[in-house]
């Protein structure tokens, strides 16, 4: 199946089930089960599951536009995480539960997991294996951040649940690629919203988008959005068997642009942008959360640099071999 044929119906579904009002309702503690059942019935959650296991058998690169759409619509459920988890489970020959699955990539109890409050299961990387733990068997606590769906996830001793093999680069690298793709999707949506606002909002007798000072900042915003997307694509290129270096490039780049991009979006929108009832914060809050999740730019830069300095090759040769190969 061609992924471009998938995007349009998927995007249309998200536009219907994840309207801003519906996103806010879930963020306020409302029931997300109806939204989830629409997603589950659509079949998209098995996009990455091999065809012989009943899925669509698509590659991570092929469904990257779908993950971007999840980011662009600020969907208040771990849709992309569940797609990845279901594919990993299917690869291990294990049937997945029906509910939303969050990814816990730090290996220690007490970590903050995006969408932890709305998941029925958490796929936990313990460092030597993956455990699919039902939330009933975990300690799940809100972070106390206003309207955040992330949760502090803990366990006694070791997390209990179905055990499957850990991917070679670890779950954090895979989650980082997914997170970078979500950032890219939200970034492009913000770019469109902010450009439109700049063309509509009139001050000093003309649209503020005619001011060179704004144009310069919006141009940088566009560069950031383009960079996040292409870096995320580099991360997705090898599928679920992500390369550690490519994942690091994806998340480092996406995380490092996320904060600046959110800042410019707010700066252009002015005071209305920080009001709760305006849609902008649905996206900018997520950009900041995703930037911090599964390792910020500082974490991944350290991973990349550590590997690079152990190698005598020239910089460009190293990048070609480690990030672009395969």
């Amino acid at each position: 199946m061609d992924a471009s044929e998938l995007l349009e119906p998927f995007d249309r579904m998200l536009a219907t089930i994840a309207m801003p009002a519906a996103v806010r309702a879930v963020e306020s503690g409302g029931d997300a089960s109806a939204m989830w059942s629409e997603l589950a019935q659509s079949g998209f959650l098995d996009a990455l599951v091999p065809e012989d296991a009943g899925g669509a058998g698509l590659s991570l690169a092929a469904i990257a536009p779908l993950i971007e759409a999840v980011g662009a619509h600020a969907v208040p459920l771990p849709v992309a995480e569940t797609m990845v988890a279901r594919a990993l489970m299917a690869g291990a020959g294990v049937a997945s539960p029906d509910g939303p699955i969050a990814l816990a990539t730090a290996g220690v109890p007490g970590q903050i997991v995006p969408c932890g409050l709305v998941a029925t299961h958490v796929l936990v990387d313990t460092g030597d294996r993956l455990v699919l733990a039902p939330v009933d068997a975990l300690a799940v606590a809100p972070t106390g951040v206003h309207h955040a769906l992330s949760a502090r996830i803990g366990w006694e001793g070791a997390p209990a649940g179905h055990v499957i093999a850990r991917p070679e680069a670890g779950l954090r690298a895979l989650a980082a690629v997914v997170r970078a793709t979500l950032i890219a999707g939200a970034a492009h949506r913000l770019l469109t919203m902010t450009t439109r606002h700049a063309n509509e909002r009139v001050q000093f007798g003309k649209p503020i988008g005619r001011q060179q000072a704004l144009q310069q900042n919006l141009a940088v915003m566009a560069e950031d959005a383009v960079a996040a997307r292409i870096a995320a694509q580099l991360g997705c290129a090898r599928g679920l068997d992500v390369s550690l270096a490519a994942a690091a490039v994806a998340k480092s780049t996406a995380s490092s642009v996320a904060a600046r991009l959110a800042g410019t979006a707010h700066a252009v929108h002015g005071a209305i942008g920080i009001s709760e009832e305006f849609d902008l914060p649905l996206l900018t809050r997520r950009l900041h959360e995703w930037r911090l999740a599964d390792g910020s730019e500082g974490y991944w830069n350290g991973v990349l640099g550590h590997a690079r300095l152990a190698d005598p090759a020239g910089s460009v040769d190293w990048v070609r071999a480690e990030v672009f190969a395969g």
């Binding site: 310069q216 990048v319 070609r320």
Partner: protein
């Protein structure tokens, strides 16, 4: 927005050029110190360019009928990437190979193509581009240097400035006013090929802040040119110039200008065994990888025959920002360890790149102009 700038791969047949160009570089450039190689595409060596031409590494995008290799933009990307990351002195052929030959191919007459392109492909005809004037920098439409029709062709009077390598070049492709005044802006501008050995042409090199003389002033005093000096159509100069910009702004030369310094610093870290710069090194790797993917994505649009001017502006602005950040960050890292000796070669390389770095976002369109182009591409203004 900018959905066409998406991940693309270099075709295997073009990747296959890499071992050949590496071997060529190893045999011609080995032994140059880092602070010389850091000159990157400002490094001038006419013999090296001729040798590249003889070995078939010039004119990669140009038809075989005119002496080219007929391989396309991806092949050129591979060869240019290797040349720049090695710090090979490519200035002699750079403008001709990148811009002048494609321009002549696109707009020139058959006679002009036959006359210039085979020599460009052999590295024997060196070109510069005459754009800026004392009163025209970013505002190029205000050029005053004038070409007037004569019975035999054209007569040129005026002055160009900041022309890279004019003193080494055989020809200049100049943007000149052929009708109207600077009030007419883009109308009335034309591109002419000027033989820099013609009587009435005077070239005066300008020394830059590093002690190099890579740009020059060029004076035209009643310079008589033949009728076929006009390239393309009279009055279409602006349109022709802007079509070149995608070639000029999206390539690896907008990413790798500081890469010789990066490699020299990396070898220093490895030699002293210091590990507190992992995150900074990693940041540079992430930026190079992302920019390289963006540049290849632009190359893919060129390979499809498009002219991605806005996308190229994105690559150039982001790329030159990285090129300029690099010496600042490396300088801080080295000087944050005052008790750790730094070699003369690394120190000279650092200061050379630090001093020349402001030019990265001036040459080929300033940062502010590029961001204006991007903004217009977004539908602003």
């Amino acid at each position: 927005m900018f959905d066409t700038l998406t991940l693309a791969a270099l075709p295997p047949e073009d990747e296959a050029l890499r071992p050949q160009i590496r071997a060529f570089i190893a045999s011609h450039v080995a032994g140059l110190p880092a602070d010389r190689r850091a000159r990157s595409w400002q490094g001038f060596d006419a013999a090296f360019s001729r040798a590249l031409g003889q070995a078939g590494f010039l004119g990669l995008t140009l038809p075989r009928a005119y002496g080219g290799q007929e391989r396309g933009p991806f092949a050129r990307f591979v060869v240019v990437e290797e040349l720049l990351s090695a710090g090979a002195p490519v200035a002699a052929h750079w403008i001709a190979d990148r811009q002048s030959a494609p321009l002549i191919l696109g707009y020139g007459t058959e006679e002009q193509r036959q006359s210039y392109i085979p020599r460009i492909c052999r590295g024997e005809a060196l070109f510069c581009i005459g754009m800026s004037e004392p009163g025209s920098g970013s505002d190029l439409a205000s050029v005053r240097t004038r070409a007037e029709r004569t019975d035999a062709g054209w007569r040129v009077n005026g002055q160009k400035i900041w022309t890279t390598n004019a003193m080494h070049s055989d020809y200049m492709i100049a943007l000149l006013r052929t009708s109207g005044t600077s009030e007419d802006r883009h109308a009335g501008l034309s591109q002419l090929i000027i033989d820099l050995k013609a009587p009435g042409v005077a070239v005066r090199p300008i020394v830059d802040l590093t002690g190099d003389a890579h740009f020059a002033e060029v004076f035209f005093d009643n310079v008589e040119l033949p009728a076929d000096a006009l390239i393309g159509r009279e009055g279409e100069g602006w349109k022709q110039v802007t079509a070149e910009l995608a070639f000029e702004r999206s390539g690896p030369e907008r990413i790798y200008s500081s890469v010789v310094l990066l490699d020299a610093w990396t070898r220093h870290l490895q030699a002293v065994g210091r590990r507190d710069a992992d995150a900074l090194t990693g940041r540079f790797m992430a930026e190079i990888a992302t920019l390289r993917a963006m540049s290849i994505a632009c190359t893919a649009r060129l390979a499809l025959g498009e002219s991605p001017v806005v996308e190229a502006s994105i690559v150039k602005d982001r790329g030159t920002t990285f090129e300029q950040d690099l010496p600042v960050a490396i300088g801080d890292d080295l000087a944050a360890h005052p008790d750790e000796p730094v070699s003369d070669e690394l120190y000279r390389t650092l200061l050379y790149v630090t001093h020349i770095a402001p030019s990265f976002s001036l040459r080929g369109g300033t940062r502010e102009i590029l961001r204006g182009i991007i903004a217009r591409g977004m539908g602003l203004r």
